[in-house]
Amino acid sequence: GESVGLHLPTLSVQEGDNSIINCAYSNSASDYFIWYKQESGKGPQFIIDIRSNMDKRQGQRVTVLLNKTVKHLSLQIAATQPGDSAVYFCAENLGADGLTFGKGTHLIIQP
């Protein structure tokens, strides 16, 4: 079965608001997670990653939070823009064995 999964298939937010996309995982030994953005008709694009020795990591307008106690991670996008509209996947990085993806959350931006 899946080792990672997202809570909501669709998330609708107003332009300019912050977006929070959630992901849960089941394997407590998991230690490396990546968030990908996939626009329509394109391959997944790396956004940000986090390892289990960290609780938080920030990038440009994005923050990933990792709560190992409840096996949950989230992606926060600040000041959401129309270009942020996409499907967002969390994935567990198994190293050479590849990635295990969740099902994805479709982020819809309302004008």
Partner: protein, 118 residues
């Protein structure tokens, strides 16, 4: 750099036909991967390679074969296509297996090949 490229972009096959999908990367990456993505789903790993001349099975390998004769190329073959193999296929490559060698282990994806098997 072109990054990761895939050919063809689209293909329609009849049941039982064979075909090969080509993936090429110009980033000198050691690791390469083939995934499939079905509607409303995340990507699932088919096969992968940790170096030239090596291949390994992923989560859903049945019905597919792969070859990595050159470091920059990773081929995915369907010997006898079935409707269940209708999907979008993505290739990816990465530098290392977890940053142990000090390099990035981010996987870079190609644009995908949309395959329909009738």
């Amino acid at each position: 750099n072109a990054g990761v490229t895939q050919t063809p972009k689209f293909r329609v096959l009849k049941t039982g036909q064979s075909m090969t999908l080509l993936c090429a990367q110009d980033m000198n990456h050691e690791y390469m991967y083939w995934y499939r993505q079905d509607p409303g789903m995340g990507l699932r790993l088919i096969h992968y390679s940790v170096g030239e001349g090596t291949t390994a099975k992923g989560e859903v390998p049945d019905g597919y074969n792969v070859s990595r004769l050159k470091k920059q190329n990773f081929l995915l073959g369907l010997e006898s296509a079935a409707p269940s193999q209708t999907s979008v296929y993505f290739c990816a490559s990465s530098y290392s297996d977890g940053g142990l060698a000090g390099g990035t282990d981010t996987q870079y994806f190609g644009p995908g090949t949309r395959l329909t098997v009738l």
